[in-house]
Symmetry: C2
């Protein structure tokens, strides 16, 4: 059994590790809205539990069992997100905060029965893949809108942030998961992107937004 604090650290380290190979104390503290000193303490504790490797002044990275735990927490989080959205009718921007609490309920029986009840979904409402019992999850071809140069129609399949204000903005602009669009042009000057929805309406979005919306080719 792990504490909520421990689980949150493991989860954050896992996410940061996708970008940097080794996770630095400051980055981790920032991610968790805490201070570097606190992060150092927790890193030491987690190392003692065998969940990560740690080298002073250099950083840390998850061990095999740390990764396994991380994937289990992510599995719980995304299954609950799916449940909240699909079964309880939560808006996708409300889902994350509640799932942050639910993900810490520790019962493998619960997780597996929930998974089965939901029909073993492979993606959560934000388009993120859900790991299975063994920690395997679907990889997904996805390109941020900022890099999508093709004129072919694209389908929104994921987002790069769970921030509520970000998701609310997407809802307002009707850029939900599964939505179809075409990129009309990229403005080099300020990196904004002009796009057109299936509804016909077209508008321009900021670079910041474009970087956080992932698309894939529309499936035939």
């Amino acid at each position: 059994m792990y504490t909520v604090a421990e689980e949150n650290y493991i989860k954050s380290i896992y996410h940061l590790q996708r970008h940097q190979k080794s996770v630095h104390t400051n980055d981790l503290a920032a991610e968790l809205n805490t201070r570097a000193a606190s992060a150092t303490d927790m890193i030491k504790k987690l190392e003692a539990k065998g969940l990560l490797k740690y080298e002073k002044y250099y950083g840390c990275s998850l061990t095999k069992s740390g990764k396994k735990l991380a994937l289990n927490i992510i599995r719980r989080h995304r299954l609950w997100e799916f449940f909240l959205s699909e079964k309880l009718g939560f808006g996708w921007e409300e889902v994350h905060a509640v799932a942050e609490q639910l993900e810490h309920v520790q019962s493998d029986l619960l997780t597996d029965k929930l998974d089965a009840y939901l029909g073993f979904p492979r993606f959560d409402p934000h388009g993120d893949p859900i790991p299975d019992t063994l920690g395997n999850m679907a990889a997904r071809e996805q390109t941020p809108l900022s890099l999508w140069t093709s004129q072919a129609p694209a389908e929104v399949c994921g987002v790069g942030s769970q921030d509520e204000s970000f998701l609310e903005m997407l809802s307002l602009k009707q850029l939900e998961i599964g939505c179809r669009l075409t990129v009309l042009r990229h403005f080099n000057f300020d990196k904004t992107v002009e796009l057109q929805l299936a509804t016909g309406s077209s508008f321009t979005i900021s670079e910041m937004l474009a970087k956080n919306i992932f698309v894939k080719p529309v499936e035939v």
Copy 2:
């Protein structure tokens, strides 16, 4: 927002208050598997938050807002029990432990949406009534089997303990909620009760068991 520890104290005080008017420190400590000294500390903290009245050496009892909180926690607990049993197919003896964790997820939106999703159930799988948003819950005429003297058929409608070994025993003896039975006789010597199931099989149960099984007249 309340901590998990606070919520557990409030819940226990509420339950103990059904029997004694004022809850004594030792009883509370026993209920929570902790020590009297710890209970005293927490009682003081909860009094400071206005959730209970406390008189030294005498005991404590919930205020209005304490009761409201208690009912909300109980509501969450029982809704989750219903969900686990009804939707996820948990056995009724497995339900309690997981619900103990789920009940501490604090989101009124979640609670209310769950309630609606489940169809506003009025009783959980153990036969306990589920409070509504306002804290109202169905009262239920229920008699422990130890006091049921009528020869009329009775229906099991509740249990007096959530102890796993107790519930497992009931499952084994096929004494589930909703099950019909007739009391054949009470043995005065050791207070055991002989009963007969709808299936025809008859057997004797201990006083301890009989006190913890609640029945009501079979509805016509």
